[in-house]
């Protein structure tokens, strides 16, 4: 039985001129309907095929790929596509988690269960280890997302990985809008945005010199809404915190941060809210959004109606400067 369609208006009603336009009203049920004509691929099927093509192409040309897996929704979808690309063979590369140590327990539980279920090999690059032995020091603001770069680069060179699959999407952030699908990193892991290889047709060039590696983004052309529609279509399981739940939170810079071992709210600030997470990262700087979206269909409708980008809503670290993401990417961040 299908619920009656809910009429929602996609995105906001901001205007940049005095010209009014027709609202694009989309039925929620339409967002989940994926049927098209004969010999025609639906948008999700076209994106899926492109991602599978990228996985097979880069994996065939290089020696030691690895897939970055955090338990976040994008990395979960990426892993799902990798399993499809090589079926009935197992995924022919390990997965790596760059662990900030500031984890949501349900995400770590999900990570370990997924690795077990699909018989994957997990490599963990631990920020905590680097802090414990003094190679890294805690930042005054307590966030560890920017500290992930050094353990990531060390793990890449220690294991000799030459292709690193990441779940970055071009719609996420303006520096990522200019990123290639296959993106070269020099031997210091640096990205040079002014000197990127042209990327033509579907002919990817992952070759590189010794010591260099490529970052590969199979989800480049997916939007947040595509990811959610695909999760709904494929019935992909996610960590529970992506769906509405009651949690103790407190407000910082307009975001709801979780009360936990890595945050230090004043007692008077703490409130209990119905929230869910739109992104998953360092618990100390990833914000929750107020939401009553209990299941994936609710989330699809909510994301379609959202007027704020997921990073704008949930990432303190991306708000630091106008080019915060570009600067971190240049240094080798994912």
């Amino acid at each position: 039985m299908r619920d009656p369609p809910v009429s929602i208006q996609i995105r906001g009603n901001q205007t940049v001129s005095n010209e009014t336009v027709n609202d694009l009203n989309i039925e929620a049920a339409d967002l989940l309907n994926d049927t098209v004509g004969e010999y025609e691929l639906s948008q999700l099927d076209a994106l899926e095929s492109e991602s599978i093509h990228i996985f097979r192409e880069v994996t065939a040309e290089l020696e030691r790929p690895v897939l970055l897996f955090s338990g976040g929704k994008d990395s979960v979808v990426m892993l799902h596509l990798a399993r499809k690309a090589f079926w009935p063979a197992p995924v022919p590369f390990p997965v790596m988690h760059v662990d900030t140590g500031h984890n949501f327990p349900e995400v770590i539980e999900y990570r370990d269960r997924t690795v077990e279920k699909f018989g994957l090999r997990l490599v963990v690059a631990s920020v905590q280890d680097y802090i414990d032995d003094g190679r890294l020091s805690e930042r005054p603001d307590g966030t560890r997302n920017p500290l992930q770069t050094m353990p990531l680069l060390d793990a890449i060179s220690h294991h000799g990985f030459d292709a690193v699959y990441g779940g970055g999407r071009r719609d996420e952030e303006k520096a990522r809008a200019k990123e290639r699908v296959v993106s070269l990193r020099d031997e210091f892991g640096q990205w040079d945005p002014r000197n990127q290889r042209p990327e033509l047709w579907n002919l990817y060039n992952p070759r590189h010199r010794a010591g260099e590696h490529v970052r590969v983004f199979p989800l480049s052309n997916w939007t947040e809404l595509d990811i959610w529609r695909y999760i709904a279509r494929e019935g992909i399981e996610l960590p529970s915190l992506y769906y509405s739940h009651r949690r103790e939170v407190f407000e910082r810079d307009g975001m709801w941060l979780a009360v936990g071992p890595y945050t230090d709210p004043k007692d008077a600030e703490v409130v209990v809210k119905e929230v869910r997470y739109r992104t998953v990262g360092d618990m100390s700087c990833t914000g929750a959004v107020e939401s009553i979206a209990k299941d994936v269909n609710d989330v699809v409708a909510e994301v379609a109606a959202s007027t704020i980008t997921e990073r704008g809503a949930t990432r303190a670290d991306d708000r630091m400067t106008e080019a915060a993401m570009e600067d971190r990417k240049k240094e080798g961040y994912f």
């Binding site: 906001g12 691929l41 009935p88 042209p198 060039n205 980008t309």
Partner: protein, 431 residues
């Protein structure tokens, strides 16, 4: 819910491309409140009166500092019927490289022309690139019509000029739309100011335009990307003997039971099965990613190609091609490079450089080398046979990259003009 259309935009400096892209994104509600706020904040910091929508796409620090667009930016928007991937190609710096890159994947290219200036040198070049790259549909948006008072004669004059230039480049499917990106006329909704124009608004047209050619019109071509032989590691013990050839269908349709041949060996065989992780298929078509099983036990590897038996292209060791040179160091005859064609990478030598293409006329001038952003005609010998077709026949089988074997840099975008070069034809710019 929807199909996917790949779109590229290009234009000259100050023709209002950023405004048009901004309007498409804005009017399809694809700009989020926080993105718009950020743009407004930066615009105000710079003393601008209105939000500069170019800042939405000029994401890099250097671009913001210099107020220019350096690189192709990818943007996403959707209507109820269609999702769009927009490759926004900047007009000034490295425009050839950027327009070639954006055009290579585009189903549609939207070129902007300022109605007050008509067809400029750069418009001609963009039309030439669209022709050379065989973008299936070309839309020319004649912009700023509000600035000429929506004058029908002026607009018709520019339309005529565009049609003549486009026809000169052999472009047949060219649609012109009079628009005002700033005011929104004919962008998302039809304008009441253009009673002389009976066609659709730009977004309407983009929603209706058919995707590239229907797969049923093309020959089946399947470059083998990856051999799937899981043996003991199979995800299901019943599949330990599995042997499938994974790839993305480059063109056409394939059915179980189809007679095919395996190139370059030319061995005939039959499709035994079409597999995906979601189960077997009876029929598959471009651009699906699938895995094919064959009835005969043939030793196939990455770089081989499975093709319809009745239309197998002749493998070749020499091609005649157009290349767009993308490297700082010029291309000279005798250059040793790698050539990547579908899933096949081979050693190659550029034996001859013919003419350099003059993008203003699509005429040629004799050249001894090709510099950065030059497009020229060359002959290339490859170390082992490739299964190529003319780019005019197949964008997928006619396209290739030249790669520097040492630095691994991508040196050139190539398009096969001819695979039969026994009799060297005089270089003649028939495109």
């Amino acid at each position: 819910m929807s199909t996917l259309l790949r779109l590229a935009t290009a234009g000259s400096v100050d023709d209002g491309k950023s405004t048009l892209v901004g309007r498409l994104l804005h009017d399809t509600k694809s700009i989020m409140a926080d993105q718009l706020e950020a743009v407004e904040r930066v615009s105000a910091d710079r003393g601008l009166e209105a939000a500069d929508l170019a800042l939405l796409t000029d994401g890099l620090r250097a671009e913001r500092e210099q107020g220019i667009t350096i690189d192709v930016a990818y943007r996403y928007f959707a209507t109820p019927n269609r999702s769009f991937i927009l490759a926004d190609c900047p007009g000034h710096v490295q425009y050839t490289r950027n327009t070639v890159t954006g055009s290579s994947t585009a189903d549609v290219i939207v070129l902007l022309v300022d109605v007050r200036h008509g067809v400029l040198e750069q418009t001609r070049r963009h039309l030439a690139v669209a022709s050379l790259l065989r973008v299936p549909h070309v839309i020319v948006a004649i912009n700023k019509i509000d600035l000429v008072g929506f004058d029908a004669d002026t607009i018709r004059g520019v339309q005529k000029q565009v049609s003549e230039v486009a026809a000169g480049f052999g472009l047949t499917d060219v649609t012109t739309i009079p628009v005002s990106a700033l005011r929104g006329d004919n962008v998302v909704t039809r304008s009441e100011h253009t009673p002389f124009y009976a066609g659709p608004a730009l977004l309407e047209l983009l929603e209706q335009i058919p995707n590239a050619d229907s797969p049923t019109q093309e020959q089946f071509r399947f470059p083998v990307q990856y051999v799937l032989r899981p043996q003991a590691a199979a995800v299901d013990p019943a599949l330990q003997e599995y042997r499938g050839y994974a790839g993305q269908i480059a063109s056409g349709v394939v059915r179980v039971g189809d007679r095919v041949s395996v190139e370059p060996s030319g061995r005939p065989t039959t499709i035994a099965g079409i597999d995906t992780a979601d189960g077997p298929l009876e029929v598959a078509f471009a651009p699906q990613s699938v895995s094919l099983r064959l009835t005969d036990d043939i030793d196939l590897a990455r770089g081989d190609m499975i093709v319809a038996a009745d239309s197998a292209p002749e493998p070749t060791r020499e091609i005649d091609a157009f290349v767009c040179w993308l490297a700082e160091r010029p291309l000279k005859p005798g250059a040793r490079v790698l050539l990547k064609h579908t899933s096949h990478t081979v050693q190659a030598v550029v034996t001859e450089i013919g003419n350099r293409l003059d993008l203003d006329t699509l005429g040629g001038t004799p050249a001894t080398e090709l510099a950065l952003n030059d497009i020229g005609r060359v002959r290339i010998k490859v170390a082992s046979p490739i299964v190529a077709e003319a780019y005019a026949t197949s964008r997928r089988l006619g396209a290739f990259l030249l790669i520097d074997a040492q630095s691994a840099a991508t040196l050139a975008a190539g398009m096969v003009a001819s695979t039969t070069v026994e009799e060297p034809e005089p270089v003649n710019w028939v495109i």
